[in-house]
């Protein structure tokens, strides 16, 4: 190993000054670029008011929305009356169905004699009298109304009421609701909340653990049980939100005859059961119940998905068909007329630069929302893009084959057919396939501005802020379609142009 002396090193340095003495830009390039990027980020922070927007955002909602993608809530309300009897109610469209008796909510029932206030029966009897008084011969309704307005009475009856409810919120997490207190258990921690209905106060027996919160003393207590839900305890009511993993009622909705039946029960009903609806067989009933499931709308979703696929397919195919002859006119070496070449190329540039969005909005206005607008938008944008790419491919072809065909006396059309098309066809088709694939994706987006397809449906589901599980379902379908078409187009491409490219 040779060791350089200082003199030799200096000599080397003198021979290559450009390596050791680089310009200021070369030396400080990195810090300058980094500083510029940081400065731009600061500018963007100010320009978009990021701090303010992110600060005021509701991040608690984000978690809830995300959880809604793959789970659903069941929301029983337990009302505690003054005498300690409880009533368990579910909201009308709760996914649990019309006759809930879940095993995670155990209610202890007792027969007691109690005094009940009977509310004035304003709902039923006057309305029935008013329908009967529609005929002019009816007796005057004044007597009836007088009788019913005297209603606020008390009545003593003996009936079965709920006196204790135990809600299982997951492993070793329970809410035990008694007439005078609520016991919350999460793991090893237990809190007892005393319900003081007369003063409308909820009092904890000690310091609350970190998973329960009470905004003001005596106010309502909110207890969080992680993913399995939360509960809100006030003096006369306990609201429970229990979260379950999965998509609820994916096949049969609560008002279907098949609701709540296991897969084997449904299968045996379809194969050998008695007709649930005398008008149609069980198979067709089950099928239409699935297709028209009101909360998932399978038929509609699949129709819209098909629309999106059709938009991409027809748009790209027609764009290819139109761009193919136009690109021959635009290519310098094939159509020897400069002004016409330039004109065609500028047309391509125009179609491409007027964005897909503009075309989509434009045709939505003209054709009304639906796949026709999407097809037109994709068709026009891609005619521009494909035309440009095709013209470039044509200008790069090998001229020898064309000369060969021409030299044996072939007419011009035949020269193109046998001298040019075989060279460019694989490239043309592979580019069209590439755009087909990417258009399947962009058709979703332009759908959202009104061009129809699954994009619009997706957008509507998101705007309501409550159907995130439907959004997840549609996203899953879109991802499946995109991956499937990626695979198909890759397979076709590699067969066309060979595996190397």
């Amino acid at each position: 190993m040779t060791i350089l002396t200082t003199a030799e090193m200096d000599a080397l340095a003198a021979r290559h000054p450009d390596i050791l003495h680089r310009s200021a830009w070369q030396r400080f390039r990195l810090p300058i670029i980094a500083a510029a990027v940081v400065a731009y980020f600061i500018f963007a922070w100010w320009f978009f008011a990021v701090g303010k927007v992110v600060g005021t955002a509701n991040w608690g909602l984000a978690g809830n929305y995300l959880a809604d993608w793959i789970s659903y809530e069941i929301r029983p309300d337990i009302e505690v009356a003054a005498d300690g009897s409880m009533q368990i109610t579910y909201p009308r469209f709760d996914p649990i169905g019309p006759n809930p008796n879940p095993d995670w909510l155990q209610a202890k029932r007792e027969t007691v004699t109690r005094t009940v206030n009977i509310a004035p029966a304003s709902g039923t009897s006057p309305s029935s009298s008013s329908t009967s008084s529609f005929s002019f011969m009816a007796p005057a309704p004044t007597q009836q109304q007088a009788a019913s307005s005297a209603a606020p009475t008390t009545e003593t009856r003996t009936e079965e009421v709920v006196t204790e409810a135990v809600v299982q919120m997951g492993a070793s997490r329970t809410i035990d609701i008694l007439p005078d207190r609520v016991v919350l258990t999460r793991g090893s921690e237990t809190v007892t909340l005393t319900l003081d209905r007369d003063a409308d106060r909820v009092l904890a027996d000690g310091a609350l653990p970190e998973w329960a919160e009470q905004r003001s003393t005596g106010g309502r207590v909110t207890a969080y049980f992680g993913f399995s839900g939360w509960a809100e305890i006030s003096a006369d009511r306990v609201r429970i939100r229990k979260r379950f993993l999965g998509w609820e009622n994916f096949f049969f909705d609560t008002n279907s005859a098949f609701f709540g039946k296991s897969a084997s029960e449904v299968a045996s009903l379809i194969v050998s059961g008695e007709r649930l609806d005398p008008a149609q067989s069980n198979l067709s009933l089950a099928w239409s119940d699935i297709l028209y499931n009101p909360s998932w709308q399978h038929l509609d979703v699949w129709t819209k998905l098909l629309q999106t696929i059709v938009m991409a397919f027809i748009g790209t195919l027609f764009a290819m068909i139109v761009a193919f002859p136009l690109s021959f006119i635009a290519a310098r070496n094939i159509f020897r007329n400069r002004p016409v070449n330039q004109l065609t190329k500028r047309l391509f540039d125009f179609l491409r630069s007027v964005d897909m969005l503009i075309w989509a909005l434009f045709f939505t206005r003209a054709f009304g929302p639906g796949p026709l607008a999407g097809i037109s938008a994709i068709f026009l944008t891609d005619t521009g893009t494909l035309g440009k790419l095709y013209a470039e491919a044509l200008e790069n072809i090998d001229d020898k084959q064309r000369e060969g065909v021409r030299s044996v006396g072939a007419p011009p059309a035949t020269v193109q057919r046998y001298g040019v098309v075989p060279q460019v066809m694989p490239v043309f088709v592979s580019q069209a396939l590439y755009f087909w694939e990417s258009n399947t994706r962009s058709a979703t987006i332009i759908g959202a501005v009104g061009a129809g397809g699954i994009g619009l449906k997706l957008w509507e589901a998101m705007r309501t802020n409550s159907d995130w599980e439907n959004v997840a379902y549609m996203v899953l379908l879109i991802l499946l379609v995109v991956f499937l078409f990626d695979g198909i187009s890759n397979a076709l491409r590699s067969r066309l142009v060979g595996r190397e490219r």
Binding site: A44, G452, W459, M462
Partner: protein
């Protein structure tokens, strides 16, 4: 002297070759025909389906398309300029249609930016910011996903899957989700476009890295450089021109993408365009389209010029 066409008699093996050729040609014709029929059925079925599920039928609506195009013609040539530069219009009738002055964005008391220019700058900023974010994270992820830089498959495969999901996830869903949390504005658009860009750029980047020359890397390894030093001094100088070229290409795409996301609630010029088309403000619509067209052409030209400088003509051979 009469002549007769004598077909040369083929030997037995020659006849077999001929028979096989006929058979293959027939088969090929059959396949082509079948594929053609299939395509025809698919196309006509799709067209029927599209027409059937559309709100208006194609032939019913076609005259309205021309009406709409006719409606777009402004009253006089200067109307577009007035709309573009917020100048008062002589047709002012109190409605929003000719009210161009209202949307001005005042920087100081007297100096203002015309509305659409300000919105265009907003859209451009969404595109630039999200492309820069995509560049930074795509850069990091691509080194983890490249086969020649990361040998551990347990790091490489997740990095690739993450990028695939980011790329394939519909932008409109990301935008919608963040719109629900952050309320209307450009930040959801930035997030949606950035996430997509990370995936798209990361994929292009790691393919570049895998094609890089590994000799500098070996040299650095021989003198004991660690992974970071090998990446930074061995790979980055080689791949940077290509990275920059893809960055610029992505910027072009993102200008369009952020316009579209703007139209679904992300703010910027896209929203203005959607509003003015749906309200039937002809001059405003044309002004926005003109501005958008010029901006897109300018961005495309600028990026093409810069890319040609960075990597030469080879950047234009492949898409």
């Amino acid at each position: 002297m009469p002549t007769s066409v004598i077909s040369p008699r083929l030997s037995e093996s020659g006849a077999m070759v001929e028979r096989h050729w006929q058979q293959l040609a027939g088969q090929r014709r059959l396949y082509t025909l079948a594929a053609g029929m299939l395509l025809l059925i698919a196309v006509s079925g799709s067209l029927w389906f599209a027409n059937e599920t559309n709100a208006g039928k194609f032939f019913d609506r076609l005259p309205h398309l021309f009406d709409f195009v006719g409606d777009l013609v402004p009253r006089d040539g200067w109307e577009i300029w007035r709309a573009l530069f917020d100048l008062p219009s002589p047709y002012e009738d109190g409605s929003l249609k000719y009210d161009y002055v209202d949307g001005r964005h005042y920087l100081t008391d007297s100096f203002y930016i015309p509305e659409y220019f300000y919105k265009m700058v907003e859209t451009l900023n969404i595109a630039i910011l999200s492309t820069v974010i995509g560049l930074i994270f795509g850069f990091i992820l691509s080194f983890l996903a490249a086969r020649n830089m990361t040998h551990n498959v347990w790091i490489r495969a997740p990095a690739r899957r993450v990028m695939e999901i980011m790329r394939a996830f519909p932008e409109v869903v990301l935008a919608g989700f963040f719109l629900a949390i952050l309320s209307l504005g450009p930040i959801p658009a930035v997030i949606a476009v950035s996430i997509h860009t990370v995936g798209a750029l990361g994929k292009l980047f790691f393919e570049v890295i895998e094609n890089a020359d590994m000799k500098p890397d070996e040299g650095l390894k021989a003198v004991g450089a660690n992974w970071l030093e090998r990446s930074w001094f061995g790979i980055v100088p080689q791949v940077m021109p290509n990275f920059m070229s893809y960055f610029l290409l992505r910027l072009e795409i993102n200008v369009r993408a952020s316009t579209i996301i703007g139209a679904v609630g992300g703010g910027g010029i896209g929203e203005q365009l959607r509003l003015s088309i749906s309200r039937g403000h002809e001059a405003k619509t044309l002004a926005i389209i003109l501005l958008l067209l010029l901006t897109i052409i300018a961005v495309d030209q600028f990026s093409a010029w810069l890319r040609r400088k960075l990597v030469g003509d080879q950047a234009f051979q492949a898409i």
